[in-house]
Every structure is written in C-alpha cells, then in structure tokens.
Point group: C2
C-alpha cells in the first residue's frame, strides 16, 4: 500500500494532470490555472502530461481538450477541479471511474457557506474510491520547483487604464513552505514574500480540509528536503492529538511558525463565519504550541519575520542576547522588546567589558562608547569598530545571540560593515540578526546586502528583537528536547554544501 | 519681554544665522551644516543672512568667513555651534558678547558622557546672557518650510565603489512635527518618513536639553499652524508637572503620539548610559500619558502608523468599529487585534444586517457574503460591492470607524474601489483606514492611492487595526475632555481649504 508521503507527493509532483473546468475565457479561474500548467510545461519545468477537460472545447492553448476525465487515454495522476460546486460530485465520480488517486477541489460553495451535505457527498465518493482530496474552497498548490501552480489569481492584473501590473506574483525558489487555511491570506503571503525577495519551497492552501488536513501536510513537509522552515496559517486545528504528534516530530528537525487567528471572542466569531471553524480556546493553543515547539507569531509581520530568521540563522542556545549599535535610542528600543519578551540583555561580564576597555585604550573604539550591553559605538562608528565589537560579544560564552543595529546614517560608517559582520559570524554557531532603519536607497541596500549574506535584517529595532525571540524560543525548545546538537549538525552541513 | 513662542521661533525662522565651526572640509559636520544653509539661501528658501565662522578660512562656499561671532557686523539672531565640546563655553561667551539670543549646540561630549561640569558651565553663561539653548549633543532643527537644516548627516553618501546613494533624505513638507531626544532615531525617522512619502512640518532633535526641553518645544508646536500632529520620541521627561500641563492643553487641539523608551529594567539602564536619563517607572508614564491624552505607541512602527492615521483622519467618536473585507482570514486578524486592544467589533444591528440581506436579494453582493461584522464580500468582491458595503456601515449610527481590508488579489476587484471609498468617506465624520497586503506593484499602488486620497493605508491587518486604535483612543479622550466638537470643526475647516 502507498504511504501517505507517496499520496501527498502527487499534489506537488504529478505524473499527469487533468484540469476539469479548463477554459479559453481568460477571466475564468479554469483558464488561469490551465495556463499556469501549460506555461510550466512549455518552459520544460512541468514534466508530467497535461489534459484540459471541458465538454465545450476542442483545444485550449493548443492542448487537445477532453469532454470528460474518463475519455482521457493515458493515466491521470492528479485532477484539479474548477467547476461550480454542484457539479463537483459528478466530476469526482468520473475521477473514481478513471482510477484517479488525487484531486484538488478549487471550487467554493461547500461547508464554508453551510453546504455540509454537498461536502459530505464529495468526501464519501473520495473515501470509497481511495482518492485523496485537497480542498474544497482553496487555492491549491504552488511548487516553485516542479512548475505545479494551481493559483487562479493571475500574476498580473489589467488596470482600468489598460496598464498591466504585477498583482499576485509567485515568489522565487527558497526554503520556506507556506501552509494556509485561508486562500486570501495565502495570496497575500506570496505577494509579500515575492516583494521582499524571500523564496518558498512549496505553497499549499488547503481550505475546508474535507480530507487532507494540516497534520498530513506537515508530515509530508517533514520529508521534503527543499523545505527548511514551515509557515502555517490556521483558524482551527480539529485533530489536536494528531497535530501534536506530528508537530513534535517535525520541530526536532524543522521549525514551524504558526499564525493562529480567531484569538478573541469576536475573532473566533469571524472565523466561524469564514470557514465554519471553531477557533477554540486561545490559551489551549498557546499551551499546545509551546509543548510541541511550535513558534507562535503574534501577527502577520512577526510571522514572516520569524520565518526569515529561522530559515537563515541557527537558533540560540540560550536566552542571553547582546546588542551592538551605533545608535543609542534604537538600541534601547531593541532592549525593551527583548526584555518584555523574556529575553535577557544583561550586563556584559567583567572579562568582556575589559576587552572593550582595552579597545578604548588602543583608540580602536571611541573612549565615550558605552559598553554595559548594549555596546554603543556612538555616531563615530566605523566598519572596523563594528567588526571588533561584534567579535568580542560573539566570543563571550555568556552571549547566545547578537542583535546588530547598524544605522547607515552615521557619517563614518561604510557599507562594508555588513560584509565584515557576515564573514565574522560564519565562524560561530550563534545567531546574528540586523537592523537598519529607513525606507530610502541606502537603508534598502544595507538590509538587502545583509540578507544576501545570510543575516536576516529588519526595518525596526523591535522587529529585529522579535526575530531574535523566535530564534531563542526555538533554540530553548531544541535544547529541552535534546535535539539542538543534531539540528546544528544538519544546519551546518547544509550551509557547507 | 519676549514670549517663549517668540524665543523658540528663532530656531525655526531666524533673521540671521552664524555657523560656528563652518568648514571647507566636506567630511566635517561643520561643512555639511553650513552647506545646507548655503543651499537653502541660494534656492531662495532661507530668507535670513548667513555667516560662516572659522578663524582659519577667508571664504566658505563663496560666503565671507568671520574669525569670531563678535566680528560679524550685522545682528546675529541664531548661532549654530559645531566645535569640540571644550571650546563651546568660549563660543558661548562670544555669543553673549554679541547679544545673541538663541544657540544650538550640535557638539557632543557633555553630560551624556558624564561631563556635567562642562554642560553646567555652558548653561550658566546662557542663563546670564539670556540665550536660549537647544542641545547640546543633538541634530538640531530641520524645517521643511523655512530652509533651516542643521543636520550634519548629508542627504547622500558615497559608497566604496564611488556610487552616491540617498542616505539621510529630508522628507517633503507635511503636517507632522517630529520631536526627538535621540539624534540617531531622528535621522532614521526622516529616512523612514521620506521613503514612505510622509511629510513633516518641523523636526527637532533636542539632545541633552540643557535648557529647552520637550515642554517648551511642544508649546511652540501648539501655535505652529503647519503642525497638525506631534510625534515625540523620549527617554525621560524630567519636568513632569510642566509636561502634563502643556500636553493637556495641546491634546485638546492636536494629537501627540509618544514613543517612550526605556520601559524595562535593561532598557532603562541602556537609556541611562545613553543620555544620562533616568527613565522612571513605566507605569507612571502610562498613567500620565493617558491622563493628558497622549497616544502612546508601543513600538517604532506603531509610532509612525498612528501619526499617519491622526494626520489624515478624524478621530473616532466611540469604540465600535466595523470591518469590511474581501478576505476572510486577514479580516479575522484585524478583529483579533482590535478586540485585544479594547476596541469592539460587535455584531451589526438588525437594521444594518437587514440592509445587507436586501443587497443580497438584489444580487448586489454575493448571497454567501457573511455580514455579522466583518462584512465579508468574499473573493467575488467588486468595487461596487465595496462601495455599497462601506456606505451601509458608515450610515450605521452604532459604528464609529471603519477598517477596509481590500486585498487587490481577488479577480474581479478593480483599483477604482479606492477612489469610490475615499469619495464616499468624505460625506461622513467617521475615520476610515485601509489595508492591502503585498510588497509588489499593485499592492504598493493601492496603498499609495488610498493615502493620496486621504485614507491611511497599511500593509498588514494588524497595523490597520492598531492605527484605528489610535484614532479611537484619541477620540475618546477628546470626548471626555469636551473637545471633540471643536477638534472636528477645526479639522473640517482645514480639509475644506
């Protein structure tokens, strides 16, 4: 018998795909989806066969069109269904007759609007025929590696003026998997990640989860070598025990960042009317996530920020953090955020303080630099001062992670401080995150250069502190569950290759 | 005798300026500052006379240079001092001899590094001569209207490659005043605001505040017609009683948003070593801000976001908010954030719900739209649906503000929904804030178009909710202090002109 992993693999890497409801009308979801696949096929990325299914057409985008799945001659590995909800049971029966084993139901109009019977009918057909189902009411899958792209939201949109603009871009290849219950949030996530030059390995919008739920998805991603970090948006987790089991297994090897919404009374009511999900007690979710090592993000920004940090940096082996800065005020902001999240920014040891005093005596850093933690190099900071300062704190055995606040505005600081810090940090197994504030040319350059060199960079001190919090809390969990050393080894092996 | 307002006016609109420490060396702060003024003068923005003071030069940028302030023939209204700290007392004595009444001491090296004696010496000279002093250890003033620009951080910076890039831009003219104790944070704020196309009226970095403190600055800004919202970064407020008095007076007419750092133990320690400030108990600051109607931001992003909201929109007359969306998940995120901040997103009244049901029956909005609050128009949303939906909630007397989450990704939504909502909202005195998620072309366009039309727009649902929180808390304060009606009147008068 096939394993769940093999079953799931079809959704991401099908040998052949039929799009039921494929259309020639460019405004139709069935057109956009089929075109995505046709494009992937033409570019040679999609390896499997591709079949449009539509009884009213002979050809779509030069592909021979079939009136029904059952008329297709070759085998059909995966069916994507984009027809009105009431027709879906009929299509599922045809899929069953054809021996299909995997179906994605993009169509909405099921339990999310109270049509529980219709959804049940579909589920029953699927169960009996052994078809695994993703959806209904979802965006399906986008895989940056295999060319699978079921998003019915086209990459560009035409404005009233006739101008065509980027609307729902697909991010580049990367190591973050995005798993989402909300399709709308999923589309936004792609737009956010693409715009911030953050790559994804796989994207799955699973909607009503009439069959496949987050736990099976997560288990598949555990085995996916392309995925290093899992970002999960959810409104409700029904199979709690199974989720805990899977999550516990995964988080020893890969971080999971969760954005669980419906936290408040009114939020839960909104979730109920959105997907019919019972959001459940928020404190239980907190306890569960904590117990199984899932990093919970408090909002959208923290969700992406934590994912970026965990995909680029090692977690921290403890909760003492050092701040190195050229800007006193912003450093205080980072310290406040760390401390209010339970991370210590404690005074440096006498030994470390002595090293700073030595640097002052030599004239390497300014005599008026303050060095209790933060180390404040002041507005006189240079690249060399940052290099010396960061080295000393990385050498300090009591420091588990470093936040570098390098505001580019100070006159003597050259942009090569980024490269110096990045190179330096390679010699250590401690996480480093950076912050530069500003939304114009040099700030954008500084942050992007940091990230190119593997150091996550943030536009505010508090964002950087929150990212460090994610690295600390995941690190502490790994320590507690005796998995830190192994994670470290895997992480380093990857970096070397 | 001169009023404090008249005294303060000199710093922003001097009849004549002397820059002591002006230099021909382009790497020197004294060069950058003098060049800023020379440029303003050439462009005809700076109206007063301009004198470089430096005993070693004859001309700087074609301006005749003076060996000392006392040698200047005309009157000197304002002196800007950019010389090493130890020379400052001597310069102050010369300024006193010349009869100068206002001085900005840019130079660092005073109480912030423990040189209390030196600072006291300067203060004593100033007191005796009746010179008002801004600083020391500050960036001074940038006024977008008068051409006064004391920032020694040049707008561009030259990279190692030789490329020149924007580094510390000056924002355009606008209605937000920025008042900051930290110069580094001030420079970042300018970079942030310029990059986000947000304008400022005045910028003041007051550093060690040996004489002029935040309270006097605030009082001046109360009378400044160009300033509608005051953004204040502070590490400590020493003259608490005076601050409360001034703030109470101002907040009846103009909102103040405060970013008070040094909240935690380690943060307070960092503040102490940064500016020598005793941060004080955070709960006292909370209580004080609340009592005098100051909106306190929890972090940098909220600081700017709240400022933007308050400068563009009226505050809310109560704390019931409606959410109108095309994206169920992101709407839940906004609801969660509102409710956790004490803002109600309660179910719509029967009357309002009935109006939605009527729209459904007519086929104006989808039959499966949910309308408990949020009103979720679903992925089928169009511009017209948003217009109808927003109108109904604005008409609801129980709704005090509206959060519009209009994700541009949904297929049938055209960008003119922005204009429709903006036009519609003009007929009401209720605040509207918007959210679109994404960092690529259409998301950037949507948010920027919203703001062009006066509706603050945010890149995450929680950001939008937090901005609404600022509008609600300020509105409730105005109500409580019987100033809402008058504020409303002033606000509307401005909008009409």
């Amino acid at each position: 018998m096939e394993s769940v992993i093999e079953q799931m693999h079809r959704f991401f890497n099908p040998k052949s795909v039929a799009v039921v409801g494929a259309s020639r009308k460019i405004t139709k979801a069935g057109h956009v989806i089929f075109k995505n696949f046709a494009d992937s096929k033409r570019r040679g990325i999609l390896r499997g066969e591709l079949y449009p299914v539509n009884p009213h057409e002979e050809f779509i985008l030069a592909f021979k069109c079939y009136p029904s799945i059952t008329e297709i001659i070759g085998e059909v590995d995966l069916v994507i269904i984009v027809v009105p909800a009431k027709v879906v049971p009929q299509i599922m029966r045809e899929a069953a007759a054809k021996g299909v084993k995997a179906a994605v139901i993009i169509s909405a109009g099921f339990s999310e609007i109270g049509n529980h019977e219709l959804e049940k009918e579909v589920t029953t057909i699927a169960k009996e025929a052994g078809i695994r189902v993703l959806g209904p009411n979802c965006l399906g899958v986008y895989d940056s590696h295999t060319g699978v792209d079921m998003l019915f939201l086209p990459e560009t949109k035409v404005l009233i003026t006739g101008d065509e603009v980027v609307a729902t871009p697909r991010p580049m290849k990367g190591h973050m998997a995005v798993v989402t219950q909300s399709g709308a949030f999923g589309a936004s996530a792609l737009d956010y990640l693409a715009g911030r030059q953050l790559g994804v390995s796989k994207f799955v919008s699973f909607g009503n989860k009439c069959d496949i739920d987050e736990s099976e998805m997560l288990r598949y991603l555990l085995h996916d070598e392309k995925t290093r970090v899992i970002l999960m948006y959810t409104e409700s987790i029904e199979a709690g025990r199974e989720f805990m089991k899977v999550a516990r297994e995964i988080t020893k090897k890969k971080p999971i960042v969760a954005l669980k919404v419906g936290k408040t009374g009114a939020g839960a009511r909104a979730a109920l009317s959105h997907t019919g999900a019972i959001a459940g007690s928020d404190s239980i979710y907190n306890a569960v996530f904590k117990q199984v090592g899932v990093v919970r993000a408090k909002d959208m920004e923290e969700f992406f920020d934590a994912g970026k940090a965990l995909s680029l940096q090692l977690p921290a082996a403890g909760n003492n953090v050092a701040v190195v800065t050229d800007a006193g005020g912003p450093a205080i902001m980072a310290v406040d955020e760390c401390e209010s999240k339970g991370i210590n920014v404690k005074k440096f040891s006498e030994e470390t303080a002595q090293k700073f005093e030595d640097l002052k005596r030599e004239g390497t850093i300014p005599s008026f630099a303050t060095n209790l933690n933060p180390l404040d190099l002041t507005g006189s900071a240079t690249s060399e001062m940052f290099e010396h300062g960061v080295k000393i704190v990385l050498d300090d055995p009591e420091v588990h992670g470093v936040i570098v606040i390098g505001l580019h505005h100070v006159p003597a600081l050259q942009e090569d401080f980024v490269d110096k810090i990045a190179n330096l940090s390679k010699g250590y197994t401690k996480p480093v995150v950076a912050c530069d504030i500003g939304e114009t040319e040099m700030a954008l350059y500084t942050r992007s250069r940091f990230e190119k060199l593997g150091i996550p960079a943030y536009p505010s001190p508090e964002d950087a502190a929150r990212a460090m919090t994610a690295l600390v809390s995941y690190g502490l969990y790994l320590k507690k569950s005796d998995s830190f050393e192994q994670y470290l080894e895997t992480f380093q092996k990857r970096t070397r290759t």
